[in-house]
């Protein structure tokens, strides 16, 4: 259940965010994705494919001290798995994730793309064997900035703007 309280963001400069008098939703339980790169919040939600009916609060282009602009996503009563968090990290490598239980942050850390992973992305090379064998894609991170991964099978490099999530 979302209760009206101060928004528990960590960036106090956003116009949509926290002035002491401003009443916005505070999570009782769930996940907060903060410091998402501006413009990536909705893409994260599309990729996460949350259960139907999940309550979500999205802030887009909020002002951020550290990044200039950022997006923010609050997901009620849903704690992201490691694999789901890894997907977010592949979209927005500098984001933070906070797990909220009973209004308290019980875990918070920065997201980092995994060094190597299987199953999160699809290889974009139509000639790659993974498509005909119907196996999960397997990748290694080739570069973190700009984020680029390489398919273990065909060795094709894929940049973040080309990512197709599994």
């Amino acid at each position: 259940m979302i209760q009206p309280q101060e928004l528990t963001t960590h960036d106090e400069e956003s116009p949509l965010m926290p002035k002491p008098t401003q009443q916005v939703a505070k999570l009782k339980q769930g996940t907060v994705l903060d410091h998402l790169r501006a413009g990536t919040g909705l893409r994260c939600l599309r990729v996460l494919k949350l259960p139907p009916g999940t309550t979500v609060l999205v802030g887009i282009n909020l002002t951020s001290k550290s990044h200039g602009k950022k997006d923010l996503v609050k997901i009620e009563r849903y704690e992201l798995s490691e694999a789901e968090a890894a997907k977010v990290a592949l979209i927005s490598p500098d984001a933070t994730i906070s797990i909220i239980r009973d209004y308290k942050v019980v875990g918070k850390h920065g997201l980092h793309p995994p060094i190597a992973f299987r199953g999160l992305l699809r290889c974009t090379n139509p000639a790659c064997i993974v498509h005909t064998e119907r196996i999960a894609g397997s990748f290694v991170v080739e570069s973190r900035d700009p984020l680029t991964v390489r398919c273990d099978y065909c060795e094709r490099s894929i940049t973040a703007d080309q990512f197709e999530f599994a």
Binding site: V130, E133, Y153, R156
Partner: protein, 311 residues
């Protein structure tokens, strides 16, 4: 120091997995294996799983195995394998590995050899996976260059033709980075070397030039590596026809070449080398195809642990 044991049981999937000293060890081994025949591989069985047509690679492997006393099983096209019934490569590999000691695999899809290696407990040799890699062709190319030129280091090597889809070029260009070769890439814009390959060359600090004019590139070449436009990789046949005759090397162009130039081609040839060039003293492409047996004899013996008696 590299020894024969470094090759024992190893998969051969990409050339990037081989260091310079390992490559030179293999070339030295090929020299020693050239005239070796006998029963070194007696009782050993090699499977050739060729889901795509091949003449030189398959036959030279089969010749290599036969000359060393081993035997080959397998198929030469997908239509006569269980793939025609819908069997996956993974299942085919899991079954066939029970019949043999070594898997030689060619497949039109990129990355198939790595997939096969994940499912096989015996060594897998990539004999070409789509436009990706063809490492044993690269070993043969390196062997040919060293044999014909006496060295590899510092040579000026000109690649011409379909650099986009030609997997032999992708593998050889990659490995030449270990030999300080000067690379010139001659191709129409559509058939340029893929961006990842160019980026890899940049990252390794390799000097290379890109050109479209073959005649302008020939005079500086120590080695001229011609390639066929890969019809089977084009989705649009009209596009193929547009580029099929992009370059034809003839004696007129070769008049501007260094007298000691070595002309290579992974074959088959279509129109990119005029037949009048075949009698040029440095047209080495048929010898290149023949060297494949020596190199593959050495490689198989090394992978199966039978090379030490010869080395």
């Amino acid at each position: 120091m590299v020894t024969a044991r470094d090759f024992l049981g190893r998969d051969v999937l990409t050339v990037g997995e081989f260091r310079r000293d390992e490559l030179l060890f293999l070339l030295d081994a090929a020299d020693k294996f050239e005239r070796v025949t006998g029963t070194l591989l007696a009782g050993r069985v090699v499977a050739t799983l060729f889901f795509e047509p091949s003449t030189r690679t398959r036959l030279s492997f089969e010749s290599a195995v036969g000359r060393l006393g081993g035997s080959c099983i397998g198929f030469a096209e997908a239509g006569i394998s269980s793939m025609a019934k819908g069997e996956t490569v993974a299942d085919t590999v899991r079954v066939v590995q029970g019949y043999c000691d070594l898997l030689l695999l060619r497949h039109p899809k990129e990355g198939t050899a790595r997939l096969a290696a994940e499912f096989a407990d015996i060594p897998v040799v990539n004999c070409g996976d789509g436009a990706h890699q063809h490492p044993t062709q690269t070993f043969v190319d390196l062997y040919t260059i060293r044999r014909e030129c006496g060295r590899i280091d510092g040579l000026k090597i000109v690649f011409a033709g379909d650099l986009r889809y030609g997997r032999a070029v992708h593998s050889l260009v990659h490995v030449l980075t270990q030999f300080k070769a000067h690379v010139t890439l001659v191709a129409p814009d559509f058939l340029r070397l893929p961006q990842e390959q160019l980026r890899a060359l940049d990252e390794m600090g390799v000097e290379y030039r890109e050109m479209e004019d073959l005649e302008a590139a020939v005079p500086e070449a120590d080695v001229l590596y011609m390639t066929r436009v890969q019809q089977e990789r084009f989705t649009d046949p009209h596009e193929y026809l547009k580029f099929r005759d992009a370059y034809t090397l003839d004696l007129k162009i070769l008049r501007r070449a260094k007298p000691e130039i070595v002309i290579l081609h992974p074959l088959p040839r279509v129109t990119e080398i005029a037949t009048e060039v075949d009698n040029h003293p440095h047209a080495a492409y048929f010898r290149q195809a023949h060297y494949g047996v020596a190199v593959r004899k050495a490689l198989i013996a090394l992978l199966l642990g039978h090379a030490e008696k010869v080395l």
